[in-house]
């Protein structure tokens, strides 16, 4: 499996990876503790005007915030080290392999595709490890952590808070399908534009020699326009997520407020003002990661195919003798 092989590359930086992942999870949890600390401050210290509580609350609160800062620092730094080193190692291996594989891989037309592997593909993977991997870890721990805290605080409010969740998942998934299709279309037009540019520039001397600059420019502009249109469409679909998600989130907030206020007025024992406010914040803190995760899917997929293409080069068999041209294997 791909992830497993990437993990093998991370073996040299195993310690960094372990520390990084641990810090990521710890960071997400300490981040979640903040709204709960607010609830405590409001319910146990401010409302009864029991100011001596600050003696333990302030150090604890500061410790949580500083801890959160520290974990985020460790997480970002360690994951960055792992990402850079892993991609560099993969790229070194690719370069080494390129020097020994059969020359027919470098024939005209193939060269462009090979070039993009140690450059564009490697860059995609680098950015994915740096941003995507961390986000996925943070998002998952945030969502799970939020659920745990909410259910610990109040079962009924929790159920109300996540009542909109199924609708949100279905909706986001459904829109995600459109979004992915639009995204793929952007990728296709982008590679078309790149191919166009590459050819125009490779043949620029011929173009200049025959004074055909205007003609080639027309073709280029057409190809660029297709790309612009496809990208704008992808942006339209991508940004249509947010209104729906926001509307759903606010529906959740409204439900929590409505029932919460009524419960508060009916003096139910488990619900306090602090907890009510904390719930509104927690509602916020599980919804956003959820949306983030879905949008991350595209990045995840493109990173996976980039990794696949990189391993493709690394795994190419070395032949001593060039096979005849007709039998050459097509790389994609």
């Amino acid at each position: 499996m791909l992830i497993r092989r990437v993990y093998e590359y991370a073996q040299a930086n195993k310690r960094n990876l372990q520390i990084g992942v641990a810090a990521t999870i710890a960071g997400a949890f300490t981040g979640l503790a903040a709204p709960y600390m607010h609830a405590i401050a409001i319910d146990s210290i401010i409302t009864p005007k029991n100011l001596s509580g600050f003696i333990w609350w302030i150090p604890l609160f500061a410790a949580i915030i500083l801890g959160n800062y520290l974990f985020q620092y460790i997480q970002t730094y360690q994951i960055r080290i792992v990402g850079e080193k892993v991609v560099a190692k993969m790229r070194d291996d690719m370069m080494e392999k390129l020097q020994v594989i059969s020359l027919r891989y470098f024939s005209e037309g193939e060269a462009g595709r090979i070039i993009s592997r140690p450059t564009n593909d490697a860059n995609t993977v680098r950015i994915f490890i740096r941003v995507g991997l961390t986000s996925i870890l943070v998002d998952i721990s945030s969502i799970l952590g939020t659920f745990a805290i909410m259910f610990y605080l109040d079962l009924r409010l929790s159920l109300l808070a996540i009542s909109v969740l199924p609708v949100a998942i279905v909706l986001v998934w459904y829109l995600g399908k459109y979004s992915r299709a639009a995204y793929r279309r952007t990728l296709i037009t982008t590679s078309g534009l790149t191919a166009r540019l590459q050819e125009d520039l490779a043949g620029i001397k011929v173009t200049q020699a025959y004074a055909q600059e205007k003609e080639t420019e027309k073709k280029f502009l057409k190809s660029q326009e297709e790309n612009v249109k496809a990208t704008i469409r992808a942006i339209l679909i991508g940004s249509s997520y947010t209104p729906f998600v926001m509307a759903l989130r606010l529906t959740g907030t409204m439900i929590i407020l409505f029932f919460g206020v009524n419960a508060l007025l009916a003096s139910l024992p488990t619900i306090t003002l602090g907890i009510l406010v904390a719930f509104i914040e927690y509602q916020f803190s599980y919804f956003m990661p959820l949306v983030d995760l879905v949008t991350m899917y595209d990045q995840y997929q493109s990173a996976m195919s980039a990794i696949e293409r990189m391993f493709d080069v690394i795994d190419t068999k070395v032949e001593v003798v060039d096979a005849p041209r007709e039998r050459s294997i097509q790389l994609q």
Binding site: H38, M95, G109, E213, I235, M246, L257
Partner: protein
């Protein structure tokens, strides 16, 4: 010496320097591109204000619910009204945000398109010298990879910055009348956050810039390696290539990790500080709180919750601004690489008085022509000779003697530094470039065909030419029969998705391409060496047919070319050593005679190829 030595030295020479002035001027230049879309910018500003207002309503009304609904005194009749405001504000926020994101995205695409088009147009006008020194892969990646970084920044930057500014202003406007002291306390950390964000910028910007620069070079290193793989293998430099690469990559990785360390120190600092500030607000509120459970106390708690929640909300815009700064750093390096090419001088341009001139006869005069790629290092020195209409001149000379440079001066692929070149008595600089080039058939040294059909490739210089003329040109170039033998004839695609052509076939197509439009003058850089005898014969036939009755300058590769030439020009170190007919030069007993006797007579020894190739 390692192949990657210059690259390694370059990477190591990049000092972490302060680049504010440059970054700022690059940003101003990027802003210029926004000026073409005033309505998009205006819409984004207006929508950003509305969005910030709507964003601030939910915490405010939640606090109202605490104060006025829960009380005391309790007043549940207000609850539904407040909830409605919250929901409507939320829906309004969602819609505003959607339109804003979309408008921003559209604007970014338009601007990227404008920058890329400008880049593309600027490349069209660069001279051959420019393309001799810059790789195609490098130029392509500037327009794609580097511009993508700019795209990423452009998609959100204005909205993010406005969001941070307006949200802060609106929140302060709401909380200041409620409690000036608490506002002051809650915003106390803001200057610190501002300070640290600036620090982050100062410290990481040069590093990211260096990373981008190293990566750009590394990319072209990889490209050169892949394109020139055959040469690498022939000279057994594989290990050297890889070792050099790994060394440079190490420099890159170390820079990236240093930058990452700084980012990880400063980035989470802003939100942490803001959250810590909440503790101060709690303490102040606790001290000033009225009698517990009184109406006053509930009001105070309601507003306390408002303050704290606003502070938590503000962490998002602050985080976004930090990220946008990070994106700008990357975008700036990318933009710089694009603008570097846009700003590179174009050395060949139309003169102000240039006009369309028709070449009637095709007489060519060179008078004291001096030319060099680098100033004060002439490749050609005071070259003078005249070619009469219809004459074929074969040019001989060792590698580096300036043969290719000489013939490429005629269609002004390069401009001369001194002297004069005239066609039919008119200085070539008085021609419009397009007018000059369209009337000279050119066969370049490297054989390049575009993806497209045979027909499109042959008619490349005159897309609206008739089929008869295309066939005529193909016949002259001795490629017609081959094309006809293909299943789709002239509509057969060339290249990756079409037929695979041999080097000789490709070259004959490029000859046909030069003949379309029946030009009076022809320049040929016939460099196709290492071909088999049959191919050589076919190419020779094509060349002989093509050069009939046209003023031709041809870099001689074969004895047969020299045999059919009217005159022979021998170049030595950039000067004309000998010029005349075969008989004249043989009689002179000079360089030509020596070459002829030692090489042509012994028929095409490898040295001749050395002498002919360039």
């Amino acid at each position: 010496m390692s192949i990657a030595k210059p690259l390694l030295d370059y990477a190591k020479s990049l000092k972490p320097r302060k680049g504010f002035a440059q970054s700022f001027s690059a940003f101003k230049r990027l802003l210029q591109y926004h000026r073409r879309y005033p309505w998009h910018v205006a819409a984004i500003v207006v929508l950003a204000v509305i969005r910030s207002i709507l964003f601030s309503l939910e915490p405010l009304y939640t606090s109202y619910i605490i104060i006025y609904v829960i009380g005391p005194p309790t007043n549940t009749s207000l609850l539904m009204g407040y909830l409605l405001v919250i929901v409507l504000a939320g829906i309004g926020y969602a819609i505003t945000n959607f339109i804003l994101t979309y408008m921003h995205g559209v604007m970014s695409q338009y601007i990227v398109r404008d920058v890329r088009s400008e880049y593309y147009r600027s490349l069209r006008t660069k001279s051959f010298s420019f393309y001799d020194s810059v790789g195609v892969g490098d130029l392509t990646s500037r327009a794609t990879v580097d511009l993508r970084l700019v795209d990423m920044f452009l998609r959100t930057w204005l909205g993010t910055v406005l969001n941070a500014v307006f949200t802060t202003i609106i929140i302060i406007a709401i909380i200041l009348p409620i409690s000036p002291t608490m506002t002051l306390i809650s915003m106390a950390t803001m200057p610190l956050i501002f300070y640290f964000t600036t620090r982050l910028w100062i410290n990481t910007m040069p590093l990211f810039r260096n990373m981008q620069l190293i990566m750009g070079r590394l990319t072209s290193y990889i490209q050169q390696n892949i394109i020139g793989m055959k040469t690498v293998r022939i000279f057994r430099r594989e290990k050297d290539v890889v070792d050099g690469f790994i060394e440079v990559e190490d420099v890159y990785v170390n820079t990236a990790i240093t930058a990452g360390k700084m980012q990880s120190i400063y980035m989470p600092l802003g939100p942490a500080l803001l959250t810590l500030g909440a503790a101060l607000v709690y303490v102040y509120a606790g001290i000033t709180l009225g009698v517990p459970y009184s109406a006053l106390a509930v009001e105070q708690i309601g507003y306390l919750i408002l303050f704290v929640r606003y502070m938590m909300r503000l962490t998002f815009p602050i985080r976004d601004v930090s990220q946008t700064l990070g994106m700008w750093i990357a975008a700036y390096a990318g933009l710089e690489r694009v603008q570097e090419m846009i700003d590179a001088p174009r050395s060949v341009e139309d003169m102000p008085n240039a006009r369309d001139v028709r070449i009637e006869k095709g007489q060519l005069e060179l008078e004291n022509v001096t030319f060099g790629y680098v100033k004060d290092r002439p490749v050609l020195n005071k070259v003078t000779f005249t070619v009469q209409p219809g004459e074929k001149i074969a040019i001989l000379g060792a590698t580096g003697s300036g043969k290719s440079s000489l013939i490429y001066l005629i269609p002004r692929f390069y401009d001369i530094q001194a002297g004069r070149i005239r066609i039919d008595g008119t200085d070539i600089r008085e021609f419009k470039l397009a007018s000059l080039r369209r009337q000279i058939g050119v066969v370049l040294q490297d054989v390049f065909l575009f993806s497209g059909t045979m027909r499109e490739n042959i008619a490349f210089g005159k897309p609206d030419v008739s089929m008869d003329e295309i066939v005529q040109a193909a016949k002259s170039a001795r490629i017609h029969d081959f094309i006809e033998s293909l299943p789709s004839g002239y509509d057969t695609p060339v290249g990756e998705r079409g037929v695979t052509l041999s080097g000789g076939q490709k070259q004959r197509i490029t000859i046909a391409r030069a003949l379309v439009g029946n030009p009076r003058m022809l320049i040929m850089d016939d460099s196709l060496s290492f071909v088999d005898a049959k191919t050589e014969k076919e190419i020779q036939a094509a060349i002989d047919e093509a050069t009939k009755a046209r003023t031709t300058l041809i870099i001689a590769q074969r004895f047969s070319t020299i045999k059919t030439a009217k005159k022979i020009l021998v170049l030595e170190n950039g000067s004309v050593a000998e010029f005349g007919t075969h008989e004249e030069l043989m009689a002179r007993d000079g360089a030509y005679k020596k070459v002829y006797e030692t090489q042509f007579v012994q028929k095409a020894s490898p040295i001749l190829r050395e002498a002919g190739g360039s």
